[in-house]
């Protein structure tokens, strides 16, 4: 009984959620991180773009399908919801594509079409590696990412500094953008 009351007290109300998301948006760096995180999560397999993913994640929270225990940092909770919504949406979309009896879903706003096309994926990876062929450290980071190494393991394995790692993140992001345009533009 006491536990129930305790958990009720720590669960956030609509007003508290609103205040928390507004506070998050007011912090330029934190909001940039959330937006970029959502964008790349969407690119990793979701028919929506990052913007839609943020909206849908917020809606999940506002409608009470997910609750916020105020002991948890709001930004961390929101990242978790984005992760889970993106993954759920990907599975749903994939299932729909594989099952012909399913009703056709909306066409993706993200490179999901590329993600489901084996040839395009192979071409994508080839162009990406080619771009960094003279940078063995960066290629090693890519290998770590492909192998789903966590952040600490990737740093240890590649023997680079945090600063170098951060520069690599931005270089890869830039490269992914232009390679994606090339791969998708080439088939139009």
């Amino acid at each position: 009984m006491q536990d129930d009351e305790g958990s009720k007290k720590s669960k956030a109300s609509l007003v508290e959620i609103e205040a928390a998301i507004k506070a998050l948006m007011a912090e330029d760096i934190a909001w940039f991180k959330i937006q970029m995180f959502a964008r790349f999560r969407a690119y990793a397999g979701c028919p929506w773009d990052g913007d839609d993913l943020v909206q849908e994640s917020l809606l999940t929270l506002l409608e009470g399908n997910r609750t916020w225990d105020k002991k948890v940092d709001f930004a961390v909770l929101f990242q978790g919801i984005i992760r889970s919504v993106a993954s759920h949406k990907y599975e749903e979309w994939k299932k729909d594509k594989e099952d012909e009896s399913h009703v056709e879903m909306e066409e993706p706003a993200t490179p999901l079409g590329t993600m489901l096309d084996s040839e395009k994926c192979a071409e994508f990876l080839r162009l990406l590696r080619e771009r960094f062929k003279d940078d063995p450290k960066l290629l090693t980071v890519l290998e770590c990412w492909e192998g789903r190494f966590n952040y600490a393991d990737a740093l240890q394995y590649t023997e680079i500094t945090v600063e170098q790692y951060e520069k690599i993140i931005r270089r890869v992001e830039g490269a992914l953008k232009s390679v994606r345009e090339k791969v998708e533009g080439g088939t139009k």
Partner: protein, 142 residues
């Protein structure tokens, strides 16, 4: 082989997403300064979030209003039935007249018809209802 490539590409985007969260404020600031278009788009995204919050609040208000109205409606539509006999009605009129300080000639009530008793009782009950609701109306006016 091809499944591997798909998974590898997904893994790269996933890792990129997770890596962004670990980046230092300095690096993110540098990135923001370069990615002007992205920052602009993110500001537009804020407006969408605010619009969503506003819409959700409206829906909540509407829901509360509906619940309130339903409650109020059930209160207003409560049905009262008059006593069965004429004498009981007369007794009730007397009782109400005393409690509400109404000027009524009790003697005249002894010869009253059933129809007049009903009418009088209805008038008294309406007066009582108005008196009960007037303090909150005053509050609303203020």
């Amino acid at each position: 082989m091809s499944i591997d490539d798909k998974e590898k590409l997904r893994a790269i985007y996933d890792a990129l997403a997770e890596s962004v969260l670990t980046m230092s404020d300095t690096e993110i600031n540098e990135w923001r300064n370069v990615a002007k278009d992205d920052v602009l788009k993110m500001n537009e995204s804020k407006n969408k979030v605010l619009a969503l919050l506003k819409q959700k609040k409206k829906e909540e208000c509407k829901k509360h209003r509906q619940t309130h109205d339903e409650k109020a409606q059930s209160f207003v539509s409560q049905v009262f039935s008059f006593p069965g006999t004429l004498q009981e009605k007369i007794n009730l009129i007397k009782e109400k007249a005393v409690s509400m300080n109404l000027a009524v000639q009790f003697r005249e009530l002894e010869n009253i018809s059933e129809e007049d008793a009903n009418h009088l009782l209805e008038t008294i009950l309406n007066l009582e209802k108005e008196a009960a609701s007037s303090p909150s109306e005053k509050k609303d006016d203020e």
